[in-house]
């Protein structure tokens, strides 16, 4: 992928201590480069979700700094960031259209002028036909598509995803993985993807940052420069080798600080 190596957002020495004393993150240094697909990989409770929330501005770091490359991204968080939660997090009382409309509506855009953008976002994730449905009428995978469409509707520069496919079955997950890679290519946006699945992170990412747990910090980094991400890649020797390498990195990360685990 051709992207500049300029960081879009940089975390320096970021630490997070929760009210109950849990040290979720400690001196975390992380650069998210413009246009890359970056995965944060680590065991449950390693603070990767916390790191993502700090990037989104949903949580304040206890120590350290978060620096955005330019003022536009720093000042207009609402337009620069798309966030996809682990659950679809849809408003059950609103139709699919209104769920996707939400970010624009909160920004004061009227319904009529927002409609083309909402329909475009729905079409991108392949659910334009379900605009009038209620969330409960959709399957788990479809709900997640609505959630992605909602994140895309503001045309964000960076898409933050917090284990979005963890609760889905494998067939649905593979399909959504493929669609996500295609979207990333097409929209040329930056994606930060939090996961605990080695296979998913290798399949999707250009770069994987492996994190240790309690406190969370960067343990190692793996760069994957395979140009094509498709079923052929999924069955290739390169994919298998990278998965093995990543698994080893993950085991090292999990055993590197045995005394630190609570």
């Amino acid at each position: 992928m051709s992207h500049s190596s300029r960081p879009l957002v940089s975390l320096r020495g970021v630490g997070k201590v929760f009210g109950n004393g849990t040290r979720a993150l400690e001196s975390l240094d992380l650069d998210v480069r413009e246009g890359e697909f970056l995965s944060l990989l680590g065991p449950s409770g390693c603070g990767k979700s916390t790191a993502l929330r700090i990037v989104a501005g949903l949580s304040e770091p206890s120590q350290g700094t978060v620096t955005w490359a330019d003022h536009a991204a720093a000042n207009d968080r609402a337009r620069s960031i798309g966030f996809v939660f682990q659950e679809p997090t849809l408003m059950p009382w609103a139709r699919v259209f209104d769920n996707v409309l939400l970010p624009l509506r909160l920004a004061g855009t009227d319904r009529a002028s927002a409609k083309p953008r909402v329909m475009e976002a729905l079409a991108r994730v392949g659910i334009a036909d379900f605009a009038e449905a209620y969330p409960r009428e959709l399957s788990g995978g479809m709900r997640m598509r609505v959630s992605i469409a909602r994140a895309l509707v503001t045309a964000p520069r960076i898409l933050l995803m917090d284990e979005p496919f963890a609760a889905l079955d494998e067939i649905t997950r593979f399909k959504l993985n493929d669609d996500l890679v295609a979207l990333w290519r097409e929209l040329k946006m930056t994606v930060v993807f939090v996961t605990h699945s080695v296979f998913e992170s290798v399949y999707l990412s250009e770069r994987i940052v492996v994190m240790t747990s309690r406190p969370g910090r960067v343990s190692s980094e793996i760069v994957i420069d395979a140009p094509e991400r498709d079923s052929q890649f999924r069955t290739s020797a390169e994919y298998a080798a990278t998965c093995r390498r990543t698994s080893e990195a993950l085991s090292r990360a999990m055993s590197s600080r045995p005394g630190a685990a609570a």
């Binding site: 989104a56 949903l58 968080r77 966030f83 059950p92 009382w93 939400l102 909160l106 209620y134 409960r136």
Partner: protein, 260 residues
């Protein structure tokens, strides 16, 4: 017989049996109407006294509806206020509980001393009815999905937007449950206050008619008035259940029909 027919046929059969037994007991024992009137006499009293009973029903219903409307407005309003400020909630919630747990029958005579009768009756209806709305709406407002709250924050939603587009819709199922309870309770509040006021000699509601008929040993009219009160309660409950169903039918689990 299919399920929906059974739903109506079974209680109707119980009603018919009950009325038949009642009639039989009155006839066989020759019970005089000033002790226990038969169902036929109650029905004919309902027809012959319709003028006076109807105007009393309207009076009671007017109080009930006013009390109910104030209870819904007050309950939801207080819940929103409590949700906005922890300090206000901590300061006033105990008093809302005290108002609720003190039996309204005991409060009514006191209110009648200080307030004009119409106002006292209304306040009674409000006191009993507002609490379930307050308690349920508070529960609803406090159980909004945290991720959705984060999402609204991420997109820079104002407090008003969070209230109208997130919190109130999310609290709607609990709010409607509270409102359904409040409907029945406001009728009870109105009746209690009317009975308390009835001894003071004023008033014209159905409960007053019951008290008055009791003094005059007009037992058939007591039964007729009681029947009307019951019917009024059933109608209120049915209307509010309908409202709940239509407001939630598309999205909330409670209103969904599940097959098989």
């Amino acid at each position: 017989m299919n399920a929906s027919a059974l739903r109506f046929a079974a209680p109707a059969a119980v009603l018919a049996l009950g009325v038949f037994a009642w009639d039989l007991v009155v006839r066989l024992n020759g019970i005089p109407p000033y002790i226990l009137p038969g169902p036929g006499l109650v029905a004919s009293t309902l027809v012959s006294d319709w003028g006076i009973l109807w105007s009393s029903l309207l009076s009671t219903m007017a109080t009930t509806l006013e009390g109910f409307a104030l209870a819904v407005a007050g309950g939801v309003g207080l819940a929103v206020l409590f949700n906005r400020s922890r300090l206000i909630e901590r300061s006033f919630y105990p008093y809302a509980v005290i108002l609720q747990v003190t039996p309204v029958v005991a409060i009514a005579p006191l209110l009648l001393i200080y307030l004009p009768q119409q106002a006292a009756v209304l306040v009674c209806a409000w006191i009993v009815a507002f609490f379930p709305v307050l308690a349920n709406t508070t529960l609803g407002l406090n159980s909004v999905d945290r991720n959705l709250t984060d999402l609204f924050r991420l997109y820079g939603a104002s407090r008003g937007q969070v209230l109208w587009q997130l919190k109130l819709p999310a609290a709607l199922p609990q709010m409607l449950a509270g409102i359904k309870i409040a409907g029945g309770l406001s009728l009870i509040g109105a009746v209690v206050a009317e009975i308390a006021a009835g001894s003071a000699g004023a008033g014209s509601g159905l409960a007053y008619r019951i008290a008055e008929s009791g003094y005059r040993l007009n037992i058939p009219r007591m039964f007729a008035a009681l029947l009307l009160l019951s019917l009024a309660g059933i109608v209120i409950f049915a209307l509010l259940s309908c409202l709940e169903h239509f407001a939630l039918r598309r999205w909330h689990e409670s209103a969904l029909v599940r097959e098989g």
